[in-house]
Protein backbone atom coordinates (compact mmCIF):
# COMPACT_ATOMS: atom_id res chain seq x y z
CA UNK A 1 0.00 0.00 0.00
CA UNK A 2 1.33 3.36 -1.03
CA UNK A 3 1.69 5.41 2.19
CA UNK A 4 0.85 8.75 0.59
CA UNK A 5 -2.45 7.50 -0.78
CA UNK A 6 -3.18 5.75 2.50
CA UNK A 7 -2.73 8.95 4.49
CA UNK A 8 -4.74 10.95 1.98
CA UNK A 9 -7.59 8.44 2.17
CA UNK A 10 -7.50 8.48 5.95
CA UNK A 11 -7.68 12.27 6.09
CA UNK A 12 -10.48 12.50 3.53
CA UNK A 13 -12.34 9.82 5.46
CA UNK A 14 -11.97 11.69 8.73
CA UNK A 15 -13.25 14.93 7.24
CA UNK A 16 -16.33 13.22 5.78
CA UNK A 17 -16.72 11.37 9.07
CA UNK A 18 -16.76 14.69 10.92
CA UNK A 19 -19.80 15.83 8.95
CA UNK A 20 -21.48 12.44 9.43
CA UNK A 21 -20.88 12.85 13.15
CA UNK A 22 -22.46 16.32 13.19
CA UNK A 23 -25.57 14.88 11.57
CA UNK A 24 -25.57 11.74 13.72
CA UNK A 25 -25.52 13.83 16.91
CA UNK A 26 -28.91 15.33 15.98
CA UNK A 27 -30.39 11.90 15.42
CA UNK A 28 -28.97 10.54 18.63
CA UNK A 29 -30.17 13.45 20.76
CA UNK A 30 -33.77 13.04 19.65
CA UNK A 31 -33.59 9.26 19.81
CA UNK A 32 -32.26 9.27 23.36
CA UNK A 33 -35.12 11.42 24.63
CA UNK A 34 -38.11 10.37 22.54
CA UNK A 35 -36.92 6.88 21.53
CA UNK A 36 -37.80 7.12 17.85
CA UNK A 37 -35.83 7.64 14.66
CA UNK A 38 -36.39 11.19 13.49
CA UNK A 39 -36.37 10.83 9.72
CA UNK A 40 -37.19 14.51 9.34
CA UNK A 41 -33.67 15.36 10.49
CA UNK A 42 -32.36 15.18 6.93
CA UNK A 43 -34.97 17.67 5.79
CA UNK A 44 -34.00 20.03 8.63
CA UNK A 45 -30.36 19.79 7.51
CA UNK A 46 -31.43 20.62 3.96
CA UNK A 47 -33.47 23.62 5.12
CA UNK A 48 -30.54 24.78 7.26
CA UNK A 49 -28.37 24.71 4.17
CA UNK A 50 -30.94 26.79 2.25
CA UNK A 51 -31.11 29.33 5.09
CA UNK A 52 -27.32 29.61 5.05
CA UNK A 53 -27.32 29.86 1.28
CA UNK A 54 -29.90 32.67 1.32
CA UNK A 55 -27.82 34.63 3.83
CA UNK A 56 -24.59 34.04 1.95
CA UNK A 57 -25.79 34.59 -1.61
CA UNK A 58 -28.54 37.21 -1.23
CA UNK A 59 -27.08 39.27 1.62
CA UNK A 60 -23.43 38.30 1.01
CA UNK A 61 -22.68 37.97 4.71
CA UNK A 62 -19.49 36.54 6.17
CA UNK A 63 -19.02 32.89 7.10
CA UNK A 64 -19.56 33.39 10.86
CA UNK A 65 -22.93 35.10 10.43
CA UNK A 66 -24.04 32.61 7.80
CA UNK A 67 -23.23 29.75 10.15
CA UNK A 68 -25.01 31.43 13.08
CA UNK A 69 -28.05 32.24 10.95
CA UNK A 70 -28.23 28.70 9.67
CA UNK A 71 -27.96 27.29 13.21
CA UNK A 72 -30.77 29.57 14.40
CA UNK A 73 -32.93 28.88 11.35
CA UNK A 74 -32.57 25.11 11.47
CA UNK A 75 -33.05 25.15 15.25
CA UNK A 76 -36.35 26.99 14.97
CA UNK A 77 -37.51 24.73 12.14
CA UNK A 78 -36.71 21.66 14.25
CA UNK A 79 -38.66 23.02 17.23
CA UNK A 80 -41.65 23.89 15.03
CA UNK A 81 -41.47 20.44 13.50
CA UNK A 82 -41.72 18.90 16.94
CA UNK A 83 -44.59 21.14 18.04
CA UNK A 84 -46.66 20.51 14.92
CA UNK A 85 -45.94 16.90 14.10
CA UNK A 86 -44.79 15.08 17.21
CA UNK A 87 -46.04 16.81 20.36
CA UNK A 88 -49.63 15.56 20.27
CA UNK A 89 -48.46 12.02 19.54
CA UNK A 90 -45.98 12.25 22.37
CA UNK A 91 -48.65 13.46 24.83
CA UNK A 92 -51.00 10.60 24.13
CA UNK A 93 -48.04 8.18 24.36
CA UNK A 94 -48.45 6.81 20.86
CA UNK A 95 -46.16 3.93 19.83
CA UNK A 96 -42.78 5.12 18.56
CA UNK A 97 -43.63 3.84 15.10
CA UNK A 98 -46.36 6.44 14.78
CA UNK A 99 -43.78 9.11 15.53
CA UNK A 100 -41.48 7.58 12.95
CA UNK A 101 -44.19 7.59 10.27
CA UNK A 102 -45.03 11.17 11.15
CA UNK A 103 -41.33 12.05 10.82
CA UNK A 104 -41.23 10.29 7.47
CA UNK A 105 -44.22 12.37 6.40
CA UNK A 106 -42.46 15.57 7.49
CA UNK A 107 -39.38 14.63 5.48
CA UNK A 108 -41.39 13.91 2.33
CA UNK A 109 -43.46 17.07 2.86
CA UNK A 110 -40.56 19.48 3.45
CA UNK A 111 -38.35 18.06 0.73
CA UNK A 112 -41.00 18.26 -1.94
CA UNK A 113 -42.20 21.64 -0.75
CA UNK A 114 -38.71 22.97 -1.43
CA UNK A 115 -38.64 21.09 -4.70
CA UNK A 116 -41.97 22.59 -5.75
CA UNK A 117 -41.28 26.17 -4.64
CA UNK A 118 -37.53 26.80 -4.90
CA UNK A 119 -36.92 24.23 -7.60
CA UNK A 120 -34.56 21.36 -8.19
CA UNK A 121 -31.63 23.55 -9.21
CA UNK A 122 -28.25 22.90 -7.61
CA UNK A 123 -26.88 25.94 -5.84
CA UNK A 124 -23.30 26.53 -4.77
CA UNK A 125 -22.18 28.54 -1.78
CA UNK A 126 -19.85 31.47 -2.49
CA UNK A 127 -16.26 30.42 -1.83
CA UNK A 128 -15.49 31.19 1.78
CA UNK A 129 -12.18 29.42 2.04
CA UNK A 130 -10.94 29.67 -1.49
CA UNK A 131 -8.98 26.64 -2.52
CA UNK A 132 -6.38 26.88 0.19
CA UNK A 133 -4.61 23.64 0.86
CA UNK A 134 -2.61 22.48 3.84
CA UNK A 135 0.07 19.86 3.49
CA UNK A 136 0.24 17.13 6.13
CA UNK A 137 2.97 14.54 5.79
CA UNK A 138 3.17 14.86 2.02
CA UNK A 139 -0.55 14.71 1.32
CA UNK A 140 -2.64 17.78 0.72
CA UNK A 141 -5.85 18.58 2.54
CA UNK A 142 -8.21 21.44 1.82
CA UNK A 143 -8.65 24.02 4.56
CA UNK A 144 -12.41 23.39 4.47
CA UNK A 145 -11.97 19.71 5.35
CA UNK A 146 -9.71 20.51 8.29
CA UNK A 147 -12.05 23.29 9.43
CA UNK A 148 -15.12 21.07 9.20
CA UNK A 149 -13.41 18.30 11.10
CA UNK A 150 -12.14 20.54 13.91
CA UNK A 151 -15.45 22.38 14.16
CA UNK A 152 -17.30 19.07 14.44
CA UNK A 153 -14.99 17.94 17.23
CA UNK A 154 -15.33 21.20 19.16
CA UNK A 155 -19.11 21.38 18.74
CA UNK A 156 -19.65 17.81 19.89
CA UNK A 157 -17.31 18.32 22.83
CA UNK A 158 -19.25 21.48 23.72
CA UNK A 159 -22.53 19.57 23.59
CA UNK A 160 -21.05 16.84 25.75
CA UNK A 161 -20.04 19.41 28.37
CA UNK A 162 -23.44 21.08 28.15
CA UNK A 163 -25.24 17.82 28.81
CA UNK A 164 -22.95 16.76 31.62
CA UNK A 165 -22.35 20.05 33.41
CA UNK A 166 -25.41 22.31 33.20
CA UNK A 167 -28.79 22.14 34.95
CA UNK A 168 -30.60 21.78 31.64
CA UNK A 169 -28.17 19.04 30.70
CA UNK A 170 -29.01 17.17 33.90
CA UNK A 171 -32.71 17.55 33.10
CA UNK A 172 -32.11 16.10 29.62
CA UNK A 173 -30.25 13.13 31.06
CA UNK A 174 -33.03 12.61 33.59
CA UNK A 175 -35.55 12.70 30.73
CA UNK A 176 -33.53 10.09 28.87
CA UNK A 177 -33.72 7.65 31.75
CA UNK A 178 -37.35 8.22 32.73
CA UNK A 179 -39.68 10.81 31.23
CA UNK A 180 -42.57 10.38 33.66
CA UNK A 181 -40.37 10.53 36.73
CA UNK A 182 -38.55 13.52 35.32
CA UNK A 183 -41.82 15.39 34.85
CA UNK A 184 -42.94 14.46 38.38
CA UNK A 185 -39.74 16.05 39.68
CA UNK A 186 -40.92 19.36 38.28
CA UNK A 187 -39.17 19.46 34.92
CA UNK A 188 -41.24 21.13 32.22
CA UNK A 189 -41.20 18.37 29.60
CA UNK A 190 -42.43 20.53 26.74
CA UNK A 191 -39.65 23.01 27.35
CA UNK A 192 -37.07 20.24 27.77
CA UNK A 193 -38.03 18.60 24.50
CA UNK A 194 -38.06 21.95 22.75
CA UNK A 195 -34.46 22.46 23.93
CA UNK A 196 -33.47 19.03 22.68
CA UNK A 197 -34.93 19.78 19.26
CA UNK A 198 -33.32 23.21 19.25
CA UNK A 199 -29.92 21.60 19.89
CA UNK A 200 -30.51 18.90 17.28
CA UNK A 201 -31.63 21.57 14.81
CA UNK A 202 -28.58 23.69 15.55
CA UNK A 203 -26.30 20.78 14.73
CA UNK A 204 -28.36 20.17 11.61
CA UNK A 205 -27.71 23.79 10.60
CA UNK A 206 -23.95 23.38 10.97
CA UNK A 207 -24.01 20.11 9.07
CA UNK A 208 -26.14 21.72 6.36
CA UNK A 209 -23.72 24.59 5.82
CA UNK A 210 -20.67 22.34 5.68
CA UNK A 211 -22.39 19.87 3.37
CA UNK A 212 -23.57 22.72 1.17
CA UNK A 213 -20.07 24.19 0.91
CA UNK A 214 -18.39 20.84 0.33
CA UNK A 215 -20.94 19.58 -2.19
CA UNK A 216 -23.94 21.65 -3.32
CA UNK A 217 -27.37 22.67 -2.06
CA UNK A 218 -30.39 20.86 -3.56
CA UNK A 219 -33.73 19.52 -2.27
CA UNK A 220 -32.67 15.92 -1.77
CA UNK A 221 -29.33 16.66 -0.12
CA UNK A 222 -30.90 15.49 3.14
CA UNK A 223 -30.63 11.91 1.90
CA UNK A 224 -27.00 11.89 2.99
CA UNK A 225 -28.43 11.63 6.48
CA UNK A 226 -29.08 7.97 5.74
CA UNK A 227 -25.33 7.73 6.28
CA UNK A 228 -25.56 9.73 9.47
CA UNK A 229 -28.22 7.32 10.60
CA UNK A 230 -25.89 4.41 9.92
CA UNK A 231 -23.19 6.24 11.89
CA UNK A 232 -25.56 6.72 14.81
CA UNK A 233 -26.45 3.03 14.76
CA UNK A 234 -22.79 1.98 14.67
CA UNK A 235 -22.03 4.16 17.66
CA UNK A 236 -25.23 3.20 19.39
CA UNK A 237 -28.37 5.30 19.00
CA UNK A 238 -28.72 7.71 21.86
CA UNK A 239 -25.04 7.89 22.72
CA UNK A 240 -23.14 11.11 21.93
CA UNK A 241 -19.57 9.76 22.01
CA UNK A 242 -20.99 6.86 20.00
CA UNK A 243 -22.32 9.25 17.37
CA UNK A 244 -18.91 10.89 17.04
CA UNK A 245 -17.02 7.62 16.88
CA UNK A 246 -19.60 6.04 14.57
CA UNK A 247 -19.40 9.00 12.19
CA UNK A 248 -15.61 8.90 12.03
CA UNK A 249 -15.49 5.12 11.67
CA UNK A 250 -18.06 5.14 8.88
CA UNK A 251 -16.37 8.04 7.08
CA UNK A 252 -12.97 6.37 7.13
CA UNK A 253 -14.16 2.85 6.29
CA UNK A 254 -16.32 4.16 3.46
CA UNK A 255 -13.51 6.17 1.94
CA UNK A 256 -11.21 3.16 2.10
CA UNK A 257 -13.80 0.94 0.45
CA UNK A 258 -14.33 3.44 -2.33
CA UNK A 259 -10.66 4.06 -3.02
CA UNK A 260 -9.31 0.53 -2.62
CA UNK A 261 -12.24 -1.69 -3.60
CA UNK A 262 -14.89 0.03 -5.69
CA UNK A 263 -16.67 3.35 -5.44
CA UNK A 264 -20.03 2.00 -6.58
CA UNK A 265 -19.99 -0.68 -3.91
CA UNK A 266 -19.50 1.95 -1.22
CA UNK A 267 -23.19 2.46 -0.51
CA UNK A 268 -24.02 -1.23 -0.69
CA UNK A 269 -21.24 -1.76 1.81
CA UNK A 270 -22.54 0.95 4.16
CA UNK A 271 -26.09 -0.36 4.10
CA UNK A 272 -24.89 -3.92 4.66
CA UNK A 273 -22.94 -2.62 7.62
CA UNK A 274 -26.15 -1.02 8.93
CA UNK A 275 -28.08 -4.28 8.65
CA UNK A 276 -25.24 -6.26 10.20
CA UNK A 277 -25.13 -3.89 13.14
CA UNK A 278 -28.90 -3.92 13.62
CA UNK A 279 -28.93 -7.70 13.60
CA UNK A 280 -25.88 -8.50 15.69
CA UNK A 281 -25.27 -5.40 17.75
CA UNK A 282 -28.48 -3.34 17.72
CA UNK A 283 -27.17 -1.22 20.57
CA UNK A 284 -24.07 -0.28 18.63
CA UNK A 285 -20.60 -0.12 20.02
CA UNK A 286 -21.48 2.17 22.91
CA UNK A 287 -25.28 2.16 23.06
CA UNK A 288 -27.38 1.57 26.10
CA UNK A 289 -29.71 -1.37 26.36
CA UNK A 290 -32.94 -0.69 24.50
CA UNK A 291 -35.17 -3.75 24.50
CA UNK A 292 -38.70 -3.12 23.39
CA UNK A 293 -40.75 -2.98 26.56
CA UNK A 294 -43.65 -5.33 27.20
Amino acid sequence: MWPGLFLQTLITGLSIGGIYALMAVGYSLVFSVLNFSNFAHGAVIMLGAYVGLALAAKLSLGFGIVLAGSIAGAGIIAVLNEKLAYSSLRRRKAPSLYLMISAMGCAVFLENLVYATIGSRFYAFPEFFGRQVISIGGSSVSLLDVGAFLFALVAILGLHLFINRTRTGIAIRAGVSDMTMCSLMGVDLDRLIAIVFLLAGGFAGVAGVFLGIKYLVYPTMGWVTNKAYIAAVIGGLGSLPGALAGGLILGVVETFVSSYISSVMRDVFSFSLLIAFLVWRPNGLWGTDSEEKV
Partner: protein
Protein backbone atom coordinates in the same frame (compact mmCIF):
# COMPACT_ATOMS: atom_id res chain seq x y z
CA UNK B 1 -60.74 7.10 -22.74
CA UNK B 2 -57.36 5.48 -23.22
CA UNK B 3 -55.92 7.93 -20.78
CA UNK B 4 -58.46 7.10 -18.08
CA UNK B 5 -58.02 3.39 -18.73
CA UNK B 6 -54.27 3.69 -18.30
CA UNK B 7 -54.77 5.49 -14.97
CA UNK B 8 -57.09 2.73 -13.81
CA UNK B 9 -54.57 0.08 -14.87
CA UNK B 10 -51.76 1.87 -13.01
CA UNK B 11 -53.94 2.19 -9.92
CA UNK B 12 -54.82 -1.51 -10.05
CA UNK B 13 -51.14 -2.48 -10.42
CA UNK B 14 -50.36 -0.34 -7.40
CA UNK B 15 -53.25 -1.91 -5.49
CA UNK B 16 -51.70 -5.36 -5.89
CA UNK B 17 -48.51 -4.16 -4.18
CA UNK B 18 -50.51 -2.37 -1.48
CA UNK B 19 -52.47 -5.57 -0.88
CA UNK B 20 -49.20 -7.37 -0.18
CA UNK B 21 -47.88 -4.69 2.13
CA UNK B 22 -51.23 -4.64 3.89
CA UNK B 23 -50.80 -8.32 4.81
CA UNK B 24 -47.36 -7.58 6.22
CA UNK B 25 -47.89 -4.18 7.85
CA UNK B 26 -51.62 -4.07 8.45
CA UNK B 27 -52.13 -7.63 9.63
CA UNK B 28 -48.73 -8.76 10.94
CA UNK B 29 -47.83 -5.39 12.43
CA UNK B 30 -44.33 -4.95 11.02
CA UNK B 31 -43.53 -1.74 9.20
CA UNK B 32 -41.55 -1.80 6.01
CA UNK B 33 -39.85 1.11 4.34
CA UNK B 34 -38.37 -1.06 1.62
CA UNK B 35 -41.12 -2.90 -0.21
CA UNK B 36 -40.53 -0.93 -3.40
CA UNK B 37 -37.33 -3.00 -3.73
CA UNK B 38 -39.47 -6.14 -4.11
CA UNK B 39 -41.55 -4.39 -6.76
CA UNK B 40 -38.25 -3.58 -8.47
CA UNK B 41 -36.99 -7.16 -8.29
CA UNK B 42 -40.24 -8.43 -9.78
CA UNK B 43 -40.18 -5.82 -12.52
CA UNK B 44 -36.56 -6.44 -13.51
CA UNK B 45 -36.77 -10.23 -13.33
CA UNK B 46 -39.84 -10.51 -15.51
CA UNK B 47 -38.70 -7.79 -17.90
CA UNK B 48 -35.28 -9.38 -18.39
CA UNK B 49 -36.92 -12.76 -19.00
CA UNK B 50 -39.24 -11.49 -21.73
CA UNK B 51 -36.74 -9.00 -23.15
CA UNK B 52 -33.60 -11.11 -23.47
CA UNK B 53 -34.89 -14.67 -23.29
CA UNK B 54 -38.37 -14.41 -24.89
CA UNK B 55 -39.98 -16.27 -22.01
CA UNK B 56 -43.83 -16.30 -22.25
CA UNK B 57 -45.39 -13.45 -20.30
CA UNK B 58 -47.33 -15.46 -17.64
CA UNK B 59 -44.24 -17.51 -16.90
CA UNK B 60 -42.14 -14.34 -16.61
CA UNK B 61 -44.70 -12.79 -14.25
CA UNK B 62 -44.60 -15.86 -12.06
CA UNK B 63 -40.81 -15.84 -12.11
CA UNK B 64 -40.77 -12.17 -11.11
CA UNK B 65 -43.09 -12.83 -8.19
CA UNK B 66 -41.04 -15.85 -7.12
CA UNK B 67 -37.78 -13.89 -7.38
CA UNK B 68 -39.19 -11.16 -5.15
CA UNK B 69 -40.24 -13.80 -2.62
CA UNK B 70 -36.76 -15.35 -2.67
CA UNK B 71 -35.03 -11.99 -2.32
CA UNK B 72 -37.21 -11.19 0.68
CA UNK B 73 -35.66 -14.21 2.41
CA UNK B 74 -32.22 -12.56 2.23
CA UNK B 75 -33.34 -9.68 4.42
CA UNK B 76 -36.12 -11.51 6.26
CA UNK B 77 -34.18 -14.43 7.70
CA UNK B 78 -31.48 -12.50 9.58
CA UNK B 79 -33.63 -9.57 10.72
CA UNK B 80 -36.74 -11.48 11.71
CA UNK B 81 -34.72 -14.19 13.44
CA UNK B 82 -32.97 -11.51 15.50
CA UNK B 83 -36.41 -10.20 16.59
CA UNK B 84 -35.40 -6.61 16.02
CA UNK B 85 -37.36 -3.81 17.61
CA UNK B 86 -40.07 -2.91 15.13
CA UNK B 87 -38.54 0.44 14.19
CA UNK B 88 -35.09 -1.13 13.77
CA UNK B 89 -36.66 -3.64 11.41
CA UNK B 90 -38.19 -0.83 9.37
CA UNK B 91 -34.76 0.77 9.09
CA UNK B 92 -32.99 -2.48 8.26
CA UNK B 93 -35.38 -3.09 5.38
CA UNK B 94 -34.96 0.54 4.30
CA UNK B 95 -31.20 -0.03 4.09
CA UNK B 96 -31.84 -3.23 2.17
CA UNK B 97 -34.08 -1.42 -0.30
CA UNK B 98 -31.48 1.27 -0.93
CA UNK B 99 -28.71 -1.33 -1.34
CA UNK B 100 -30.93 -3.19 -3.80
CA UNK B 101 -31.32 -0.03 -5.86
CA UNK B 102 -27.55 0.50 -5.96
CA UNK B 103 -27.12 -3.09 -7.14
CA UNK B 104 -29.73 -2.63 -9.90
CA UNK B 105 -27.96 0.55 -10.96
CA UNK B 106 -24.66 -1.24 -11.38
CA UNK B 107 -25.54 -4.53 -13.01
CA UNK B 108 -24.82 -5.15 -16.66
CA UNK B 109 -28.06 -6.97 -17.43
CA UNK B 110 -30.30 -4.22 -15.97
CA UNK B 111 -28.64 -1.64 -18.19
CA UNK B 112 -27.66 0.31 -15.08
CA UNK B 113 -29.20 3.60 -14.07
CA UNK B 114 -30.27 4.34 -17.66
CA UNK B 115 -33.01 1.77 -17.33
CA UNK B 116 -34.43 -0.91 -19.57
CA UNK B 117 -36.42 0.52 -22.51
CA UNK B 118 -38.60 -1.23 -25.04
CA UNK B 119 -40.14 -3.97 -22.91
CA UNK B 120 -43.12 -5.51 -24.70
CA UNK B 121 -46.57 -4.18 -23.74
CA UNK B 122 -48.09 -7.41 -22.54
CA UNK B 123 -50.07 -5.99 -19.64
CA UNK B 124 -53.71 -5.42 -20.52
CA UNK B 125 -56.65 -4.37 -18.38
CA UNK B 126 -58.26 -7.85 -18.17
CA UNK B 127 -54.94 -9.37 -17.09
CA UNK B 128 -54.45 -6.74 -14.36
CA UNK B 129 -58.02 -7.13 -13.18
CA UNK B 130 -57.67 -10.91 -13.07
CA UNK B 131 -54.43 -10.62 -11.07
CA UNK B 132 -56.05 -8.17 -8.65
CA UNK B 133 -59.12 -10.36 -8.17
CA UNK B 134 -56.92 -13.39 -7.61
CA UNK B 135 -54.83 -11.36 -5.17
CA UNK B 136 -57.83 -10.24 -3.14
CA UNK B 137 -59.23 -13.77 -3.10
CA UNK B 138 -55.95 -15.25 -1.91
CA UNK B 139 -55.39 -12.51 0.70
CA UNK B 140 -58.87 -13.03 2.19
CA UNK B 141 -58.36 -16.76 2.41
CA UNK B 142 -54.86 -16.37 3.78
CA UNK B 143 -56.05 -14.05 6.53
CA UNK B 144 -58.84 -16.44 7.48
CA UNK B 145 -56.48 -19.42 7.64
CA UNK B 146 -54.49 -20.54 10.68
CA UNK B 147 -51.52 -18.59 9.38
CA UNK B 148 -53.57 -15.43 9.06
CA UNK B 149 -54.90 -15.81 12.57
CA UNK B 150 -51.32 -16.23 13.79
CA UNK B 151 -50.29 -13.04 11.95
CA UNK B 152 -53.10 -11.04 13.57
CA UNK B 153 -52.23 -12.47 16.97
CA UNK B 154 -48.64 -11.28 16.50
CA UNK B 155 -49.80 -7.84 15.49
CA UNK B 156 -51.92 -7.55 18.63
CA UNK B 157 -49.24 -8.70 21.03
CA UNK B 158 -46.11 -10.60 19.92
CA UNK B 159 -45.25 -11.80 23.41
CA UNK B 160 -48.72 -13.06 24.22
CA UNK B 161 -48.88 -14.72 20.80
CA UNK B 162 -45.59 -16.49 21.42
CA UNK B 163 -46.83 -17.68 24.81
CA UNK B 164 -49.90 -19.11 23.09
CA UNK B 165 -47.67 -21.16 20.80
CA UNK B 166 -47.43 -19.00 17.68
CA UNK B 167 -43.99 -19.29 16.17
CA UNK B 168 -42.97 -15.67 15.68
CA UNK B 169 -40.11 -16.15 13.25
CA UNK B 170 -41.86 -18.55 10.87
CA UNK B 171 -45.12 -16.64 10.81
CA UNK B 172 -43.50 -13.26 10.26
CA UNK B 173 -41.23 -14.68 7.57
CA UNK B 174 -44.16 -16.26 5.78
CA UNK B 175 -46.03 -12.98 5.90
CA UNK B 176 -42.99 -11.15 4.50
CA UNK B 177 -42.56 -13.64 1.66
CA UNK B 178 -46.25 -13.49 0.76
CA UNK B 179 -46.15 -9.69 0.72
CA UNK B 180 -42.98 -9.70 -1.40
CA UNK B 181 -44.60 -12.08 -3.89
CA UNK B 182 -47.49 -9.64 -4.28
CA UNK B 183 -45.04 -6.79 -4.82
CA UNK B 184 -43.08 -8.84 -7.35
CA UNK B 185 -46.24 -9.60 -9.30
CA UNK B 186 -47.13 -5.92 -9.26
CA UNK B 187 -43.65 -5.07 -10.51
CA UNK B 188 -43.90 -7.55 -13.40
CA UNK B 189 -47.21 -6.06 -14.49
CA UNK B 190 -45.81 -2.53 -14.14
CA UNK B 191 -42.76 -3.27 -16.30
CA UNK B 192 -44.88 -4.72 -19.09
CA UNK B 193 -47.34 -1.86 -18.89
CA UNK B 194 -44.94 1.09 -18.93
CA UNK B 195 -42.49 -0.79 -21.19
CA UNK B 196 -39.67 1.11 -19.48
CA UNK B 197 -38.18 0.60 -16.04
CA UNK B 198 -35.40 2.38 -14.21
CA UNK B 199 -33.88 1.78 -10.76
CA UNK B 200 -35.05 5.21 -9.48
CA UNK B 201 -38.63 4.01 -9.87
CA UNK B 202 -38.14 1.68 -6.91
CA UNK B 203 -36.78 3.84 -4.10
CA UNK B 204 -37.71 4.91 -0.61
CA UNK B 205 -40.21 7.40 -2.04
CA UNK B 206 -42.20 4.56 -3.61
CA UNK B 207 -41.91 2.49 -0.44
CA UNK B 208 -43.32 5.44 1.48
CA UNK B 209 -46.21 5.75 -0.97
CA UNK B 210 -47.08 2.09 -0.48
CA UNK B 211 -46.87 2.43 3.28
CA UNK B 212 -48.89 5.65 3.17
CA UNK B 213 -51.72 3.85 1.38
CA UNK B 214 -51.75 1.07 3.98
CA UNK B 215 -51.70 3.50 6.90
CA UNK B 216 -54.22 5.87 5.37
CA UNK B 217 -56.52 3.00 4.49
CA UNK B 218 -56.37 1.46 7.92
CA UNK B 219 -54.11 -1.18 9.38
CA UNK B 220 -56.16 -4.32 9.74
CA UNK B 221 -58.34 -3.79 6.71
CA UNK B 222 -57.90 -4.97 3.13
CA UNK B 223 -60.50 -2.76 1.50
CA UNK B 224 -59.30 0.42 3.23
CA UNK B 225 -55.77 0.34 1.76
CA UNK B 226 -57.20 -0.65 -1.63
CA UNK B 227 -59.49 2.38 -1.64
CA UNK B 228 -56.68 4.62 -0.39
CA UNK B 229 -54.27 3.39 -3.05
CA UNK B 230 -56.84 3.87 -5.79
CA UNK B 231 -57.50 7.42 -4.60
CA UNK B 232 -53.77 8.13 -4.22
CA UNK B 233 -52.97 7.11 -7.78
CA UNK B 234 -56.20 8.06 -9.49
CA UNK B 235 -57.02 11.45 -8.02
CA UNK B 236 -53.72 13.29 -8.59
CA UNK B 237 -53.42 11.71 -12.02
CA UNK B 238 -56.96 12.78 -12.97
CA UNK B 239 -56.40 16.29 -11.61
CA UNK B 240 -53.07 16.45 -13.42
CA UNK B 241 -51.20 17.51 -10.33
CA UNK B 242 -47.44 17.70 -10.72
CA UNK B 243 -45.55 14.83 -9.07
CA UNK B 244 -43.88 17.03 -6.45
CA UNK B 245 -47.12 18.61 -5.20
CA UNK B 246 -48.53 15.13 -4.96
CA UNK B 247 -45.64 14.16 -2.71
CA UNK B 248 -46.12 17.33 -0.64
CA UNK B 249 -49.70 16.21 -0.08
CA UNK B 250 -48.62 12.62 0.78
CA UNK B 251 -46.24 13.93 3.40
CA UNK B 252 -48.80 16.22 4.93
CA UNK B 253 -51.38 13.45 4.84
CA UNK B 254 -49.10 11.04 6.71
CA UNK B 255 -48.55 13.57 9.48
CA UNK B 256 -52.25 14.49 9.70
CA UNK B 257 -53.32 10.85 9.83
CA UNK B 258 -50.85 10.08 12.60
CA UNK B 259 -51.97 13.12 14.58
CA UNK B 260 -55.73 12.93 14.06
CA UNK B 261 -56.76 9.48 12.91
CA UNK B 262 -54.02 6.88 13.44
CA UNK B 263 -56.47 4.04 12.77
CA UNK B 264 -56.79 5.20 9.16
CA UNK B 265 -59.77 5.44 6.85
CA UNK B 266 -61.38 2.10 7.57
CA UNK B 267 -59.80 1.29 10.93
CA UNK B 268 -60.09 -2.43 11.51
CA UNK B 269 -63.24 -2.99 9.49
CA UNK B 270 -63.88 -3.97 5.89
CA UNK B 271 -66.10 -2.37 3.31
CA UNK B 272 -68.31 -5.45 3.36
CA UNK B 273 -68.98 -5.03 7.06
CA UNK B 274 -71.09 -1.98 6.29
CA UNK B 275 -73.52 -4.29 4.59
CA UNK B 276 -73.12 -7.38 6.76
CA UNK B 277 -72.37 -6.89 10.41
CA UNK B 278 -70.82 -10.21 11.39
CA UNK B 279 -67.91 -10.45 8.98
CA UNK B 280 -64.69 -8.90 10.24
CA UNK B 281 -61.54 -10.82 9.30
CA UNK B 282 -59.23 -8.15 10.68
CA UNK B 283 -61.18 -8.83 13.85
CA UNK B 284 -60.13 -6.64 16.67
CA UNK B 285 -62.26 -5.50 19.54
CA UNK B 286 -62.34 -1.76 19.62
CA UNK B 287 -61.01 -0.60 22.97
Amino acid sequence: MDYILSIVILACINMIAVLGLSIFTGFTGLFSLGHAAFVGVGAYTSAILTYYYYVPFPLALAAGAAAAGLVSLIIGIPTLRAKLRSDYFAIAILGFGEAMRVVLENLEITNGARGLPGIDNFTTFPIVLACLALGVFFARNFLRSRWGAACIAIREDPIAAEMAGVRLFRTRLLSLVVSAVYCGLSGGLLAHFLSFIQPVMFTLVQSTQLLAAVIAGGMGSLSGPLIASFVFIGLPEALRVAQMWRLVAYGLLLVLIMVYRPQGLMGYSELSSFFRRKDNPGGRMQP
